[in-house]
């Protein structure tokens, strides 16, 4: 094996030509992960299960029954996806040691395409709504895995899009959320980390639900938004306009309000009786639930739960929650009008801009520190624009 991890299309070629086998590839991935600090990125790593799946893939290939280009290629999934045969904990005390009785749809599709699940990647739990990446210090390019299935909520994932890695998250439900542990349902999206735009296109074809294609505007133009930064960043393409968006500090506040309310609502499911761990506790049903929840939610989750609950009470319901809903609705309307004039929007990928894709329900892609966004159904154009931006060919 080479020292550098190859992308999916290169690995598929090597597997098809017999230059390598899935067992060799999987063993190499596991060896490199275990021998480096990257082991800490994994909440769960199962070498035996992965090797068994890899050997089954090799057997299929030797009989001429390979399931497709992904057959035999290792991948990892964030610990927010339910998986059969591995625990699903989402860094939540309530789910410690929980084995889901079913598989998340996105994982199921990959596994039935022959891809080999190595293990589960660490998450931020319900605090994923807080826009922070799980670990910003280690680049995905150094992770020694060909691709990873991720769930994006607060915009923290976009910071992984550091050359040559690409983060792609299509609009909500373009990739099924079935079997995903939800943090904030109207913001949660399923996406992936890959090593090239070509891999991104291939995985979109495998994972995304069909949707009507959205036509490009005429004339085709791109827009650059500097993310309200005082000092602008050089625009990564020549054709297009520098624009101002109706996205202000109030928009960020609206995201904070809505995501906290939704996260609190999701956490409400964990009552320690019908759902979640059922530790012994004394008292009435309510007292028991309160004790179990107090013991199983982390400090950050407790804060989120209290904040989300408070935002639906008294004057905060009117002043914050309804104002945030209205602001989001107005922004969605504005973005519809915006994308009737522009093919795609680019801006610096940062915590300050990352939440916008989820807030406005846009398909998005992060590459080389630039976040590209386009409406649902225009993903092919998005890949094309990002490629153009990267190669300096204009992107249209």
């Amino acid at each position: 094996m080479t020292d550098d991890m190859l992308d999916v299309s290169e690995l598929a070629e090597k597997l098809a030509s017999g230059e390598t086998t899935s067992a060799e590839l999987t063993e190499d991935c596991i060896r490199r992960i275990l021998a480096s600090p990257l082991r800490a990125q994994f909440a769960y790593l199962d070498a035996d299960v992965a090797m068994e799946a890899a050997r089954a893939s090799d057997l299929r290939r030797s009989r001429g029954c390979a399931l497709g280009a992904l057959d035999g290629i290792p991948f990892a999934a964030e610990d927010r996806f339910c998986t059969v045969g591995m625990p699903t904990e989402n860094r939540c005390g309530f789910l410690r040691g929980w084995h889901a009785p079913y598989e998340a749809e996105a994982v199921r599709r990959l596994r039935t395409s022959g891809a080999v699940l190595l293990g589960k990647l660490r998450t931020n739990g319900f605090s994923s709504v807080n826009s922070e990446p799980v670990s910003g210090e280690i680049r995905f390019a150094d992770w020694n895995i060909p691709f990873a299935l991720i769930a994006e909520t607060g915009g923290g994932s976009w910071l992984w899009g550091d050359s040559p890695s690409v983060v792609i998250c299509p609009a909500r439900d373009r990739i099924s959320r079935e079997g995903l542990i939800s943090c904030a349902p109207s913001f949660d999206r399923v996406g992936f980390l890959v090593r090239s735009l070509a891999d991104g296109e291939y995985l979109l074809n495998v994972l995304a639900e069909p949707t009507p294609r959205v036509a490009d505007p005429d004339p085709v133009k791109l827009a650059w938004w500097n993310g309200n930064r005082a000092v602008g960043q050089p625009v990564p393409f020549e054709v297009g306009d520098t624009v101002e968006l109706p996205v202000t500090e109030r928009t960020k506040l609206a995201y904070r309000v809505l995501s906290a309310v939704e996260a609190a609502s999701e956490m409400g499911l964990y009552d320690g009786i019908r759902f979640g761990s059922r530790a012994s506790a004394e008292g009435t049903a309510r007292e028991r639930t309160a004790k179990i929840r107090g013991a199983n939610f982390s400090r950050e989750e407790q804060k989120l739960l209290l904040l989300g609950t408070a935002l639906l009470m008294g004057e905060f319901r009117e002043d914050c929650y309804f104002s945030a809903l209205r602001l989001r609705r107005e922004l969605l309307r504005s973005m519809d009008a915006f994308f009737s004039q522009y093919r795609a929007l680019a801006c610096p990928a940062s915590v300050e801009t990352g939440y916008l894709a989820g807030f406005a329900d846009l398909s998005a892609l992060s590459l080389n520190g630039v976040l590209w966004m386009a409406p649902r159904g225009r993903e092919a154009a998005l890949l094309h624009c990002a490629k153009g931006g990267r190669d300096g060919t204009g992107g249209v």
Partner: protein, 86 residues
């Protein structure tokens, strides 16, 4: 409302932090904001006069009940004797 049992120290700590955050979040308040609601979204008139309409016969409603007691559904106990059994 959050149904969370916390130590007094933790509660005071979180109350301080949440209070500060709520102060910031109330900057979202704007005049003339009205509450969007599902009735508006689906075009229902929630303030119309009540009127009697057709409904299913009781027997049809109870036909799919796993357990029943006369004209009522029987649901499993959650606590106490027999808790968790159907």
């Amino acid at each position: 409302m959050a149904c969370l049992d916390l130590s007094e120290e933790r509660l005071a700590e979180l109350a301080r932090e949440i209070g500060a955050e709520l102060t910031v979040l109330t900057e979202l308040k704007s005049d003339g904001v009205y509450a969007p609601n599902i009735e508006e979204a689906v075009g229902l008139d929630a303030l119309r006069e009540d009127s009697a309409g057709n409904c299913l016969p009781r027997e049809a409603l109870l036909a799919d009940a796993l357990c029943r007691d006369g004209d009522c559904f029987l649901v499993p106990d959650v606590f106490g004797e027999g808790g968790g059994s159907a």
